[in-house]
Subunit: 174 residues, 2 copies
């Protein structure tokens, strides 16, 4: 374990690897080595979240949701989500949280921007809100209900996000 | 603390009260007393989640999301969410998770059923998916990003859920 040799002796990659093997102990270590663990997990996270560009907003959003779901269902994703969920508000982890998500959303919003440019989504869209609505349900299932995060679920999340559930006229007339 | 006297000496109400005061220690105790803590938190939760019936699906969903957000931002809500997030899959807490959320959704879906009866939402709606999309973003903020869960946010979640972000024709022609 990382704690055996002290923070200075541990490479970030090694912690990330250890995080996968010993996921259940990660969140218990937040108090002492959270910055090392956070760096490792964030580094892994940014490498594994490519932004799709298929030409279709529906396809892009489904593929992005799928890659997030695959990542977060893995040991690193679970460890990161748990560490973030239980971190105290005055911890290093907590202070990195908002920055982490904002940078994630900044990277991902190009999917929405391209959809606006193609005319699939009106330019009045709130891209950050749309991305939250895209990935929050899968996090909700992964962290709380543990219901399956499968392809039909991801497609329904995206279709519901695009179409809405209400009997509304098209947005141009709203 | 509950652990000082053993599980038998602790009333559920007392644990719930203690959960509020000592929220940060709740999830660390899941291994030994999780069933007592879970019962206390679920009991509190069911009492504090009334289902609104205003005659407007938009108003109902905003009010419901607000009451969930208020609850989950409090010490019991945070303790429950954290305990659920970090519970091992073979724990008592984990086995209660799906049942808990299913019963919550069963209670809440009457809002959607009433909206269908009023013609505000088509009867093809997936009520469980709609409710997940309603409450997942607030959980996401409460647990992960810690961004504000205020009235404008709740209204945008509901409007986005009802209207969708895409330039779609009304669902009847989809």
């Amino acid at each position: 374990m990382a704690a055996e040799n002290g923070p200075d002796a541990v490479s970030i990659g090694e912690v990330a690897r250890l995080a996968g093997v010993h996921e259940s102990s990660i969140y218990r270590r937040c108090g002492t080595q959270e910055h090392v663990i956070l760096d490792a997990l964030l580094s892994f996270s940014s490498q594994h979240l490519p932004i799709p560009d298929s030409g279709s907003v529906r396809k892009d959003l489904i593929e992005f949701a799928r890659s997030i779901a695959t990542y977060q269902a893995g040991p690193q994703g679970i460890a990161l989500a748990r560490a973030m969920a239980v971190a105290d508000d005055d911890s290093v982890l907590a202070s990195s949280r908002i920055e982490f998500w904002q940078s994630r959303f900044e990277l991902a919003r190009v999917m929405i921007d391209r959809a606006v440019a193609r005319g699939e989504v009106p330019e009045t869209v709130d891209a950050a809100m749309a991305l939250e609505a895209l990935i929050a349900p899968a996090h909700f299932r992964a962290l709380l209900t543990h219901q399956p995060i499968d392809e039909p679920f991801l497609e329904r999340v995206v279709d519901q996000l695009l179409q809405g559930i209400g009997r509304y006229e098209p947005r141009s007339r709203a």
